[in-house]
Protein backbone atom coordinates (compact mmCIF):
# COMPACT_ATOMS: atom_id res chain seq x y z
CA UNK A 1 0.00 0.00 0.00
CA UNK A 2 1.39 3.41 -0.89
CA UNK A 3 1.23 6.27 1.58
CA UNK A 4 0.04 8.88 -0.93
CA UNK A 5 -3.10 10.61 0.34
CA UNK A 6 -5.96 10.29 -2.12
CA UNK A 7 -8.44 12.19 0.04
CA UNK A 8 -7.62 15.01 2.38
CA UNK A 9 -10.01 17.20 4.32
CA UNK A 10 -9.03 20.56 5.71
CA UNK A 11 -11.23 21.85 8.55
CA UNK A 12 -14.16 20.44 6.60
CA UNK A 13 -17.39 21.68 8.18
CA UNK A 14 -21.07 21.62 7.37
CA UNK A 15 -23.78 23.42 9.26
CA UNK A 16 -27.52 22.86 8.82
CA UNK A 17 -29.00 25.88 10.56
CA UNK A 18 -27.49 25.81 14.04
CA UNK A 19 -26.51 22.16 13.86
CA UNK A 20 -22.83 21.39 13.23
CA UNK A 21 -23.29 18.22 11.20
CA UNK A 22 -19.55 18.08 10.53
CA UNK A 23 -17.20 20.17 12.61
CA UNK A 24 -13.67 20.98 11.36
CA UNK A 25 -12.82 17.53 10.13
CA UNK A 26 -9.17 16.92 9.23
CA UNK A 27 -8.53 13.56 7.63
CA UNK A 28 -6.01 12.03 5.29
CA UNK A 29 -6.97 8.82 3.49
CA UNK A 30 -4.21 6.90 1.73
CA UNK A 31 -4.45 5.49 -1.75
CA UNK A 32 -5.37 1.81 -1.79
CA UNK A 33 -6.53 1.49 1.80
CA UNK A 34 -9.87 0.45 3.20
CA UNK A 35 -10.72 3.31 5.49
CA UNK A 36 -13.49 2.86 8.02
CA UNK A 37 -15.57 5.84 8.96
CA UNK A 38 -17.33 4.89 12.16
CA UNK A 39 -19.91 6.39 14.39
CA UNK A 40 -23.54 6.16 15.39
CA UNK A 41 -26.28 7.44 13.09
CA UNK A 42 -26.12 11.22 13.11
CA UNK A 43 -22.36 11.29 13.74
CA UNK A 44 -21.82 13.09 10.43
CA UNK A 45 -20.58 10.21 8.26
CA UNK A 46 -23.15 10.62 5.52
CA UNK A 47 -22.67 14.40 5.47
CA UNK A 48 -18.92 13.83 4.94
CA UNK A 49 -19.73 11.48 2.06
CA UNK A 50 -22.11 14.01 0.50
CA UNK A 51 -19.45 16.72 0.70
CA UNK A 52 -16.75 14.47 -0.79
CA UNK A 53 -19.08 13.56 -3.64
CA UNK A 54 -19.90 17.26 -4.15
CA UNK A 55 -23.60 16.69 -3.56
CA UNK A 56 -23.51 19.38 -0.87
CA UNK A 57 -21.04 22.21 -0.48
CA UNK A 58 -19.03 22.57 2.75
CA UNK A 59 -19.95 25.54 4.93
CA UNK A 60 -16.28 25.98 5.83
CA UNK A 61 -13.02 24.27 4.93
CA UNK A 62 -12.57 22.02 1.95
CA UNK A 63 -11.42 18.59 0.78
CA UNK A 64 -9.39 17.23 -2.08
CA UNK A 65 -10.30 14.06 -3.95
CA UNK A 66 -7.42 12.61 -5.98
CA UNK A 67 -5.95 16.11 -5.93
CA UNK A 68 -9.12 17.88 -7.03
CA UNK A 69 -10.67 20.42 -4.71
CA UNK A 70 -14.34 19.58 -4.14
CA UNK A 71 -15.23 23.27 -4.19
CA UNK A 72 -13.14 24.37 -7.16
CA UNK A 73 -13.29 21.27 -9.37
CA UNK A 74 -16.42 19.35 -8.36
CA UNK A 75 -16.83 17.67 -11.75
CA UNK A 76 -13.28 16.31 -11.70
CA UNK A 77 -13.63 15.18 -8.09
CA UNK A 78 -16.87 13.38 -8.87
CA UNK A 79 -15.29 11.49 -11.77
CA UNK A 80 -13.02 9.73 -9.27
CA UNK A 81 -15.79 8.51 -6.99
CA UNK A 82 -18.43 5.80 -6.96
CA UNK A 83 -20.96 5.57 -4.17
CA UNK A 84 -22.95 2.73 -2.69
CA UNK A 85 -25.62 4.45 -0.62
CA UNK A 86 -27.00 3.28 2.69
CA UNK A 87 -30.53 3.36 1.25
CA UNK A 88 -30.51 1.78 -2.20
CA UNK A 89 -31.15 4.38 -4.90
CA UNK A 90 -33.02 2.55 -7.59
CA UNK A 91 -34.99 4.07 -10.41
CA UNK A 92 -38.67 3.62 -9.83
CA UNK A 93 -40.08 0.91 -12.00
CA UNK A 94 -36.95 -0.55 -13.57
CA UNK A 95 -35.47 -3.99 -13.25
CA UNK A 96 -32.06 -4.67 -11.65
CA UNK A 97 -30.64 -5.13 -15.14
CA UNK A 98 -31.99 -1.73 -16.29
CA UNK A 99 -30.75 0.06 -13.18
CA UNK A 100 -27.21 -1.30 -13.52
CA UNK A 101 -27.09 -0.99 -17.29
CA UNK A 102 -28.10 2.68 -17.01
CA UNK A 103 -25.52 3.26 -14.29
CA UNK A 104 -22.79 1.66 -16.40
CA UNK A 105 -23.82 3.76 -19.39
CA UNK A 106 -23.60 7.01 -17.41
CA UNK A 107 -20.19 5.92 -16.13
CA UNK A 108 -19.04 5.80 -19.75
CA UNK A 109 -18.60 2.06 -20.27
CA UNK A 110 -18.75 0.80 -23.85
CA UNK A 111 -21.68 -1.37 -24.95
CA UNK A 112 -19.73 -4.60 -24.85
CA UNK A 113 -17.93 -3.85 -21.58
CA UNK A 114 -21.20 -2.75 -20.03
CA UNK A 115 -23.01 -5.99 -20.76
CA UNK A 116 -20.04 -8.01 -19.53
CA UNK A 117 -19.67 -6.14 -16.26
CA UNK A 118 -23.39 -5.95 -15.48
CA UNK A 119 -23.71 -9.70 -15.99
CA UNK A 120 -20.62 -10.38 -13.90
CA UNK A 121 -21.80 -8.11 -11.05
CA UNK A 122 -25.31 -9.59 -10.99
CA UNK A 123 -23.83 -13.08 -10.80
CA UNK A 124 -21.38 -12.07 -8.07
CA UNK A 125 -24.14 -10.70 -5.84
CA UNK A 126 -26.40 -13.63 -6.65
CA UNK A 127 -29.00 -11.55 -8.46
CA UNK A 128 -28.70 -12.91 -11.99
CA UNK A 129 -31.90 -14.95 -11.78
CA UNK A 130 -33.81 -11.91 -10.50
CA UNK A 131 -32.45 -9.48 -13.07
CA UNK A 132 -35.83 -9.01 -14.83
CA UNK A 133 -37.96 -8.50 -11.71
CA UNK A 134 -39.16 -4.97 -11.06
CA UNK A 135 -37.28 -3.32 -8.21
CA UNK A 136 -40.52 -3.03 -6.23
CA UNK A 137 -40.64 -6.80 -5.99
CA UNK A 138 -37.19 -7.06 -4.40
CA UNK A 139 -36.48 -7.49 -0.70
CA UNK A 140 -34.36 -4.95 1.21
CA UNK A 141 -31.31 -7.22 1.02
CA UNK A 142 -31.72 -7.72 -2.73
CA UNK A 143 -31.99 -3.98 -3.29
CA UNK A 144 -28.84 -3.49 -1.26
CA UNK A 145 -27.02 -6.03 -3.43
CA UNK A 146 -28.04 -4.07 -6.53
CA UNK A 147 -26.76 -0.92 -4.90
CA UNK A 148 -23.36 -2.48 -4.17
CA UNK A 149 -23.19 -3.80 -7.73
CA UNK A 150 -23.01 -0.22 -8.97
CA UNK A 151 -19.50 0.27 -7.60
CA UNK A 152 -18.45 -3.22 -8.67
CA UNK A 153 -19.37 -2.27 -12.23
CA UNK A 154 -17.97 1.23 -12.05
CA UNK A 155 -14.65 0.24 -10.39
CA UNK A 156 -13.97 3.81 -9.35
CA UNK A 157 -10.68 5.15 -8.08
CA UNK A 158 -12.44 5.83 -4.79
CA UNK A 159 -15.40 3.69 -3.75
CA UNK A 160 -17.53 5.00 -0.93
CA UNK A 161 -19.73 2.36 0.67
CA UNK A 162 -22.27 3.40 3.26
CA UNK A 163 -23.45 0.48 5.42
CA UNK A 164 -22.76 -2.01 2.60
CA UNK A 165 -24.10 -5.07 4.35
CA UNK A 166 -27.16 -3.63 6.07
CA UNK A 167 -30.14 -5.99 5.64
CA UNK A 168 -27.91 -8.68 4.14
CA UNK A 169 -27.66 -12.18 5.61
CA UNK A 170 -24.42 -13.56 7.09
CA UNK A 171 -23.40 -15.50 3.97
CA UNK A 172 -24.09 -12.51 1.76
CA UNK A 173 -22.19 -10.28 4.16
CA UNK A 174 -19.01 -12.32 3.84
CA UNK A 175 -19.42 -12.41 0.08
CA UNK A 176 -19.65 -8.62 -0.04
CA UNK A 177 -16.66 -8.22 2.23
CA UNK A 178 -14.66 -10.37 -0.20
CA UNK A 179 -15.90 -8.36 -3.17
CA UNK A 180 -14.79 -5.16 -1.45
CA UNK A 181 -11.38 -6.68 -0.78
CA UNK A 182 -11.16 -7.68 -4.46
CA UNK A 183 -12.13 -4.16 -5.49
CA UNK A 184 -9.29 -2.83 -3.40
CA UNK A 185 -6.90 -5.33 -5.03
CA UNK A 186 -7.94 -3.92 -8.40
CA UNK A 187 -6.77 -0.50 -7.26
CA UNK A 188 -9.74 1.19 -5.62
CA UNK A 189 -9.46 3.04 -2.36
CA UNK A 190 -12.47 2.17 -0.22
CA UNK A 191 -14.18 4.35 2.33
CA UNK A 192 -16.43 2.23 4.49
CA UNK A 193 -18.97 4.23 6.46
CA UNK A 194 -20.65 2.04 9.01
CA UNK A 195 -21.98 1.77 12.49
CA UNK A 196 -21.31 -1.97 12.48
CA UNK A 197 -18.02 -1.88 14.29
CA UNK A 198 -17.25 -5.54 13.75
CA UNK A 199 -17.47 -5.02 10.01
CA UNK A 200 -15.06 -2.10 10.23
CA UNK A 201 -12.72 -4.13 12.41
CA UNK A 202 -12.64 -7.02 9.93
CA UNK A 203 -12.26 -4.92 6.79
CA UNK A 204 -10.49 -1.66 7.56
CA UNK A 205 -6.81 -0.85 7.45
CA UNK A 206 -7.53 2.28 9.45
CA UNK A 207 -10.62 3.67 11.08
CA UNK A 208 -11.77 7.13 12.04
CA UNK A 209 -14.36 7.39 14.78
CA UNK A 210 -16.79 10.29 14.55
CA UNK A 211 -19.20 11.55 17.15
CA UNK A 212 -21.47 14.60 16.91
CA UNK A 213 -19.73 15.78 13.75
CA UNK A 214 -16.25 15.66 15.24
CA UNK A 215 -13.37 13.31 14.59
CA UNK A 216 -12.64 11.55 17.88
CA UNK A 217 -9.71 9.36 16.90
CA UNK A 218 -8.12 7.83 13.80
CA UNK A 219 -5.71 4.88 13.58
CA UNK A 220 -5.47 1.17 12.74
CA UNK A 221 -8.02 -0.99 14.60
CA UNK A 222 -5.18 -2.78 16.42
CA UNK A 223 -3.54 0.41 17.64
CA UNK A 224 -6.89 1.81 18.74
CA UNK A 225 -7.68 -1.32 20.72
CA UNK A 226 -4.18 -1.39 22.24
CA UNK A 227 -4.60 2.23 23.26
CA UNK A 228 -7.33 1.34 25.72
CA UNK A 229 -5.99 0.94 29.23
CA UNK A 230 -7.01 -2.54 30.33
CA UNK A 231 -6.37 -4.88 27.44
CA UNK A 232 -8.68 -7.63 28.67
CA UNK A 233 -12.32 -7.30 29.45
CA UNK A 234 -14.23 -9.23 32.03
CA UNK A 235 -18.00 -9.04 31.84
CA UNK A 236 -19.68 -10.23 35.00
CA UNK A 237 -23.41 -10.96 35.08
CA UNK A 238 -24.53 -10.91 38.73
CA UNK A 239 -27.67 -12.43 40.10
CA UNK A 240 -28.54 -9.13 41.78
CA UNK A 241 -27.57 -5.49 41.53
CA UNK A 242 -24.10 -4.57 42.82
CA UNK A 243 -24.09 -1.90 45.54
CA UNK A 244 -22.01 1.26 44.99
CA UNK A 245 -19.37 0.23 47.55
CA UNK A 246 -18.58 -2.90 45.49
CA UNK A 247 -17.82 -0.71 42.48
CA UNK A 248 -15.63 1.54 44.65
CA UNK A 249 -13.72 -1.45 46.01
CA UNK A 250 -13.12 -2.80 42.53
CA UNK A 251 -11.93 0.56 41.28
CA UNK A 252 -9.26 0.58 44.00
CA UNK A 253 -7.42 -2.39 42.43
CA UNK A 254 -4.49 -1.07 40.43
CA UNK A 255 -4.97 -3.89 37.85
CA UNK A 256 -8.46 -2.68 37.06
CA UNK A 257 -8.37 0.23 34.64
CA UNK A 258 -12.10 0.90 34.40
CA UNK A 259 -15.28 -0.39 35.94
CA UNK A 260 -18.37 0.14 33.83
CA UNK A 261 -21.90 -0.76 34.89
CA UNK A 262 -23.55 -1.57 31.57
CA UNK A 263 -26.81 -2.67 33.25
CA UNK A 264 -27.99 -2.84 36.85
CA UNK A 265 -26.51 -6.34 37.32
CA UNK A 266 -23.82 -6.37 34.61
CA UNK A 267 -20.32 -5.08 35.22
CA UNK A 268 -17.68 -4.61 32.58
CA UNK A 269 -14.15 -4.57 33.99
CA UNK A 270 -11.15 -3.49 31.91
CA UNK A 271 -8.15 -5.35 33.28
CA UNK A 272 -4.40 -5.03 32.97
CA UNK A 273 -3.24 -8.28 34.62
CA UNK A 274 -6.13 -10.67 34.37
CA UNK A 275 -4.41 -13.60 36.12
CA UNK A 276 -3.38 -11.55 39.14
CA UNK A 277 -6.60 -9.71 39.67
CA UNK A 278 -9.25 -12.36 38.99
CA UNK A 279 -9.06 -14.02 42.46
CA UNK A 280 -9.28 -10.58 44.11
CA UNK A 281 -12.39 -9.72 42.10
CA UNK A 282 -14.04 -13.01 42.99
CA UNK A 283 -13.32 -12.37 46.66
CA UNK A 284 -15.03 -8.99 46.53
CA UNK A 285 -18.19 -10.55 45.13
CA UNK A 286 -18.00 -13.39 47.68
CA UNK A 287 -17.54 -10.97 50.59
CA UNK A 288 -20.58 -8.95 49.52
CA UNK A 289 -22.72 -12.01 48.94
CA UNK A 290 -23.10 -11.32 45.23
CA UNK A 291 -23.55 -14.64 43.36
CA UNK A 292 -22.20 -14.64 39.80
CA UNK A 293 -24.64 -15.81 37.12
CA UNK A 294 -22.07 -15.88 34.34
CA UNK A 295 -18.68 -14.54 33.44
CA UNK A 296 -17.18 -13.75 30.03
CA UNK A 297 -13.63 -12.79 29.12
CA UNK A 298 -12.85 -10.94 25.89
CA UNK A 299 -10.41 -8.68 24.13
CA UNK A 300 -11.50 -5.09 23.48
CA UNK A 301 -13.51 -4.38 20.34
CA UNK A 302 -14.05 -1.16 18.44
CA UNK A 303 -17.21 -0.77 20.54
CA UNK A 304 -14.91 -0.53 23.53
CA UNK A 305 -12.70 1.94 21.69
CA UNK A 306 -15.77 4.05 20.97
CA UNK A 307 -16.90 3.80 24.58
CA UNK A 308 -13.43 4.66 25.83
CA UNK A 309 -13.10 7.80 23.77
CA UNK A 310 -16.67 9.08 24.04
CA UNK A 311 -17.69 7.73 27.44
CA UNK A 312 -20.78 6.26 25.76
CA UNK A 313 -21.75 2.96 24.25
CA UNK A 314 -22.78 3.10 20.60
CA UNK A 315 -26.42 2.62 21.63
CA UNK A 316 -26.21 5.46 24.15
CA UNK A 317 -24.59 7.71 21.56
CA UNK A 318 -27.35 6.79 19.15
CA UNK A 319 -30.01 7.77 21.67
CA UNK A 320 -28.29 11.11 22.30
CA UNK A 321 -28.66 12.17 18.65
Amino acid sequence: MSSKPIIQTFDLSKKFGKLNAVDQLNLSIEEGEIFGLLGPNGAGKTTVILMLTTVIRPTEGTATVAGFDVKKSPNKAREMIGVCFQEPKLLWVSTPWDVLNWHAKVCGLSNEERKKRVKWALEEVDMWDDRRKTVHALSGGMKKRIEISKILIQRPKIAIVDEPTAQIDVVGKHRIWNLLRDLRKEGSTIILATNELQEADVLSDRVAIMHKGKLIVCDTPKKLKDSIPGGDIMEVHLEKEAPKKVLTELEEFKEIATVKETASNILRLYLNQVEAVTPKIMKVFYDHDLPIASLHMSEPSLDDVFAHFTGLSLEEAQEEV
Partner: protein, 247 residues
Protein backbone atom coordinates in the same frame (compact mmCIF):
# COMPACT_ATOMS: atom_id res chain seq x y z
CA UNK B 1 -40.47 4.64 -17.37
CA UNK B 2 -42.44 6.48 -20.02
CA UNK B 3 -45.77 5.25 -18.79
CA UNK B 4 -45.29 6.31 -15.18
CA UNK B 5 -47.87 9.02 -15.65
CA UNK B 6 -50.45 6.68 -17.15
CA UNK B 7 -53.33 8.22 -15.18
CA UNK B 8 -52.28 11.80 -15.93
CA UNK B 9 -51.85 10.94 -19.59
CA UNK B 10 -55.27 9.32 -19.85
CA UNK B 11 -56.82 12.36 -18.18
CA UNK B 12 -54.89 14.69 -20.50
CA UNK B 13 -56.14 12.68 -23.45
CA UNK B 14 -59.74 12.93 -22.27
CA UNK B 15 -59.24 16.63 -21.60
CA UNK B 16 -57.86 17.10 -25.11
CA UNK B 17 -60.70 15.25 -26.78
CA UNK B 18 -63.35 17.14 -24.78
CA UNK B 19 -61.65 20.47 -25.51
CA UNK B 20 -61.64 19.73 -29.23
CA UNK B 21 -64.87 17.77 -29.70
CA UNK B 22 -66.98 19.77 -27.25
CA UNK B 23 -65.59 23.15 -26.37
CA UNK B 24 -63.89 23.78 -29.71
CA UNK B 25 -66.95 22.83 -31.72
CA UNK B 26 -69.42 24.79 -29.58
CA UNK B 27 -67.30 27.93 -29.26
CA UNK B 28 -66.39 27.63 -32.93
CA UNK B 29 -70.08 27.82 -33.79
CA UNK B 30 -70.61 30.67 -31.35
CA UNK B 31 -67.90 32.91 -32.79
CA UNK B 32 -68.19 31.66 -36.36
CA UNK B 33 -69.52 34.89 -37.83
CA UNK B 34 -66.93 37.17 -36.23
CA UNK B 35 -64.08 34.78 -36.92
CA UNK B 36 -65.03 34.28 -40.57
CA UNK B 37 -65.16 38.06 -40.99
CA UNK B 38 -61.61 38.21 -39.65
CA UNK B 39 -60.56 35.41 -42.02
CA UNK B 40 -60.15 32.79 -39.28
CA UNK B 41 -61.51 29.27 -39.01
CA UNK B 42 -61.83 29.34 -35.24
CA UNK B 43 -62.19 25.59 -34.82
CA UNK B 44 -58.88 24.98 -36.59
CA UNK B 45 -57.31 27.87 -34.71
CA UNK B 46 -58.43 26.44 -31.42
CA UNK B 47 -57.38 22.83 -32.19
CA UNK B 48 -53.83 24.00 -32.96
CA UNK B 49 -53.77 26.04 -29.72
CA UNK B 50 -55.01 23.14 -27.60
CA UNK B 51 -52.24 20.96 -29.04
CA UNK B 52 -49.67 23.46 -27.82
CA UNK B 53 -51.33 23.66 -24.40
CA UNK B 54 -51.14 19.85 -24.15
CA UNK B 55 -47.50 19.85 -25.21
CA UNK B 56 -46.81 22.53 -22.60
CA UNK B 57 -48.49 20.66 -19.76
CA UNK B 58 -46.88 17.29 -20.56
CA UNK B 59 -43.46 18.97 -20.76
CA UNK B 60 -44.07 20.27 -17.25
CA UNK B 61 -44.30 16.66 -15.93
CA UNK B 62 -40.53 16.58 -15.48
CA UNK B 63 -40.86 18.86 -12.44
CA UNK B 64 -42.87 16.14 -10.70
CA UNK B 65 -39.99 13.75 -11.42
CA UNK B 66 -37.66 16.05 -9.48
CA UNK B 67 -39.83 15.78 -6.37
CA UNK B 68 -40.29 12.07 -6.77
CA UNK B 69 -36.54 11.65 -7.12
CA UNK B 70 -35.94 13.71 -4.00
CA UNK B 71 -38.50 11.63 -2.12
CA UNK B 72 -36.89 8.34 -3.18
CA UNK B 73 -33.38 9.68 -2.63
CA UNK B 74 -32.58 9.18 -6.32
CA UNK B 75 -31.69 12.85 -6.53
CA UNK B 76 -28.61 12.31 -4.34
CA UNK B 77 -27.61 9.38 -6.51
CA UNK B 78 -27.92 11.42 -9.71
CA UNK B 79 -25.82 14.18 -8.18
CA UNK B 80 -22.97 11.78 -7.37
CA UNK B 81 -22.71 10.48 -10.93
CA UNK B 82 -19.59 11.30 -12.93
CA UNK B 83 -21.40 13.79 -15.16
CA UNK B 84 -21.43 17.57 -14.88
CA UNK B 85 -24.49 19.38 -13.59
CA UNK B 86 -24.77 21.00 -17.03
CA UNK B 87 -24.98 17.61 -18.74
CA UNK B 88 -27.45 16.46 -16.12
CA UNK B 89 -29.86 19.39 -16.59
CA UNK B 90 -29.46 19.39 -20.35
CA UNK B 91 -30.12 15.65 -20.43
CA UNK B 92 -33.16 16.01 -18.19
CA UNK B 93 -34.70 18.90 -20.11
CA UNK B 94 -34.11 17.32 -23.51
CA UNK B 95 -35.30 13.97 -22.15
CA UNK B 96 -38.39 15.63 -20.65
CA UNK B 97 -39.13 17.39 -23.93
CA UNK B 98 -38.74 14.23 -25.98
CA UNK B 99 -40.90 12.30 -23.57
CA UNK B 100 -43.66 14.88 -23.90
CA UNK B 101 -43.48 14.46 -27.67
CA UNK B 102 -43.98 10.73 -27.23
CA UNK B 103 -46.99 11.48 -25.02
CA UNK B 104 -48.44 14.02 -27.43
CA UNK B 105 -47.52 12.08 -30.59
CA UNK B 106 -50.89 10.28 -31.01
CA UNK B 107 -52.78 13.55 -30.43
CA UNK B 108 -50.57 15.28 -32.97
CA UNK B 109 -51.54 12.68 -35.58
CA UNK B 110 -55.26 13.28 -34.84
CA UNK B 111 -54.69 17.04 -35.12
CA UNK B 112 -52.92 16.63 -38.48
CA UNK B 113 -55.88 14.59 -39.70
CA UNK B 114 -58.22 17.41 -38.60
CA UNK B 115 -56.14 20.29 -39.92
CA UNK B 116 -54.51 18.66 -42.90
CA UNK B 117 -50.92 19.13 -44.04
CA UNK B 118 -50.65 21.65 -46.84
CA UNK B 119 -46.87 22.12 -46.80
CA UNK B 120 -44.68 19.36 -45.32
CA UNK B 121 -41.61 21.64 -45.24
CA UNK B 122 -43.48 24.25 -43.21
CA UNK B 123 -44.62 21.52 -40.89
CA UNK B 124 -41.04 20.26 -40.36
CA UNK B 125 -39.84 23.79 -39.57
CA UNK B 126 -42.74 24.20 -37.12
CA UNK B 127 -41.97 20.81 -35.59
CA UNK B 128 -38.36 21.82 -34.92
CA UNK B 129 -39.73 24.92 -33.17
CA UNK B 130 -42.01 22.73 -31.08
CA UNK B 131 -39.05 20.61 -30.02
CA UNK B 132 -37.27 23.76 -28.80
CA UNK B 133 -40.47 24.77 -27.05
CA UNK B 134 -40.83 21.39 -25.29
CA UNK B 135 -37.16 21.36 -24.20
CA UNK B 136 -37.51 24.92 -22.93
CA UNK B 137 -40.68 24.14 -20.96
CA UNK B 138 -38.96 21.10 -19.42
CA UNK B 139 -35.98 23.28 -18.45
CA UNK B 140 -38.40 25.82 -16.94
CA UNK B 141 -40.18 23.06 -15.04
CA UNK B 142 -36.87 21.75 -13.63
CA UNK B 143 -35.81 25.26 -12.60
CA UNK B 144 -39.09 25.88 -10.79
CA UNK B 145 -39.03 22.45 -9.13
CA UNK B 146 -35.50 22.96 -7.85
CA UNK B 147 -36.44 26.41 -6.55
CA UNK B 148 -39.45 25.07 -4.62
CA UNK B 149 -38.97 23.00 -1.50
CA UNK B 150 -42.37 21.38 -1.47
CA UNK B 151 -44.10 19.26 -4.07
CA UNK B 152 -47.49 20.62 -2.96
CA UNK B 153 -46.37 24.22 -3.46
CA UNK B 154 -44.99 23.26 -6.85
CA UNK B 155 -48.31 21.73 -7.80
CA UNK B 156 -50.23 24.88 -6.81
CA UNK B 157 -47.74 27.19 -8.51
CA UNK B 158 -47.88 25.16 -11.70
CA UNK B 159 -51.68 25.38 -11.63
CA UNK B 160 -51.57 29.18 -11.34
CA UNK B 161 -48.77 29.49 -13.88
CA UNK B 162 -50.68 27.26 -16.24
CA UNK B 163 -53.76 29.49 -15.98
CA UNK B 164 -51.75 32.67 -16.58
CA UNK B 165 -49.37 31.47 -19.26
CA UNK B 166 -52.11 29.78 -21.29
CA UNK B 167 -54.60 32.62 -21.06
CA UNK B 168 -52.04 35.35 -21.72
CA UNK B 169 -51.08 33.78 -25.03
CA UNK B 170 -52.58 33.33 -28.47
CA UNK B 171 -53.29 29.63 -27.95
CA UNK B 172 -57.05 30.19 -27.61
CA UNK B 173 -57.66 33.59 -29.18
CA UNK B 174 -55.84 35.87 -31.64
CA UNK B 175 -53.88 38.87 -30.35
CA UNK B 176 -56.34 41.33 -31.82
CA UNK B 177 -59.00 40.24 -29.28
CA UNK B 178 -56.49 40.34 -26.42
CA UNK B 179 -55.63 43.88 -27.55
CA UNK B 180 -59.29 44.85 -27.54
CA UNK B 181 -59.83 43.43 -24.05
CA UNK B 182 -56.77 45.13 -22.58
CA UNK B 183 -53.65 46.31 -24.48
CA UNK B 184 -51.38 45.05 -21.67
CA UNK B 185 -52.62 41.48 -22.28
CA UNK B 186 -51.48 41.64 -25.89
CA UNK B 187 -48.08 43.05 -24.84
CA UNK B 188 -47.54 40.19 -22.40
CA UNK B 189 -48.73 37.65 -24.97
CA UNK B 190 -46.06 38.93 -27.35
CA UNK B 191 -43.39 37.70 -24.90
CA UNK B 192 -45.09 34.39 -24.19
CA UNK B 193 -43.44 31.24 -25.65
CA UNK B 194 -46.88 29.65 -26.06
CA UNK B 195 -47.79 32.45 -28.48
CA UNK B 196 -44.74 31.71 -30.63
CA UNK B 197 -45.23 27.95 -30.45
CA UNK B 198 -48.93 28.05 -31.34
CA UNK B 199 -48.44 30.63 -34.13
CA UNK B 200 -45.61 28.57 -35.59
CA UNK B 201 -47.66 25.40 -35.40
CA UNK B 202 -50.58 27.08 -37.14
CA UNK B 203 -48.25 28.28 -39.86
CA UNK B 204 -46.78 24.77 -40.15
CA UNK B 205 -50.21 23.18 -40.49
CA UNK B 206 -51.57 25.88 -42.81
CA UNK B 207 -54.19 27.39 -40.49
CA UNK B 208 -54.70 30.69 -42.24
CA UNK B 209 -55.03 34.33 -41.28
CA UNK B 210 -53.43 34.13 -37.87
CA UNK B 211 -49.69 34.53 -38.16
CA UNK B 212 -48.50 37.42 -36.07
CA UNK B 213 -44.74 36.88 -36.42
CA UNK B 214 -42.65 35.55 -39.26
CA UNK B 215 -41.71 31.89 -38.77
CA UNK B 216 -38.05 32.91 -38.40
CA UNK B 217 -38.87 35.25 -35.51
CA UNK B 218 -40.97 32.50 -33.97
CA UNK B 219 -38.10 30.03 -34.21
CA UNK B 220 -35.63 32.55 -32.79
CA UNK B 221 -37.94 33.38 -29.90
CA UNK B 222 -38.34 29.71 -29.08
CA UNK B 223 -34.59 29.19 -29.29
CA UNK B 224 -34.04 32.07 -26.83
CA UNK B 225 -36.67 30.54 -24.54
CA UNK B 226 -35.00 27.11 -24.71
CA UNK B 227 -31.53 28.60 -24.23
CA UNK B 228 -32.56 30.76 -21.27
CA UNK B 229 -34.28 28.06 -19.31
CA UNK B 230 -31.76 25.37 -20.03
CA UNK B 231 -28.56 27.28 -19.45
CA UNK B 232 -29.73 29.80 -16.87
CA UNK B 233 -31.47 26.85 -15.24
CA UNK B 234 -28.12 25.04 -15.00
CA UNK B 235 -26.58 27.92 -13.05
CA UNK B 236 -29.57 28.02 -10.74
CA UNK B 237 -29.52 24.26 -10.36
CA UNK B 238 -25.81 24.21 -9.48
CA UNK B 239 -26.05 26.97 -6.90
CA UNK B 240 -29.15 25.62 -5.32
CA UNK B 241 -28.18 21.96 -5.21
CA UNK B 242 -24.56 22.15 -4.22
CA UNK B 243 -25.50 24.37 -1.31
CA UNK B 244 -27.56 21.45 -0.06
CA UNK B 245 -30.61 23.65 0.44
CA UNK B 246 -32.85 21.18 -1.43
CA UNK B 247 -32.42 18.61 1.35
Amino acid sequence: MFMRYKFMLIMRGIWFVSQVALFGLVVGKMVEAAATAAGINYFQYYVAGVTIITLYSTSMFIGYDIFEEAEHGVFEYLLTLPVSRRELVLGRSIGGGLRSFIYVGPLLIIVLMLLGLSNPLHFLVALSGLFLFAFGVSGMSITIAVAMKSGDKYDILIGVLDALIVRLSTTMYPTIYLQQAMPAYATIANFNPLTYASDLFRWGTGVEGTLQFTPLIGLLALFVFFFSFTFVGVVFYERRLEGGSWQ
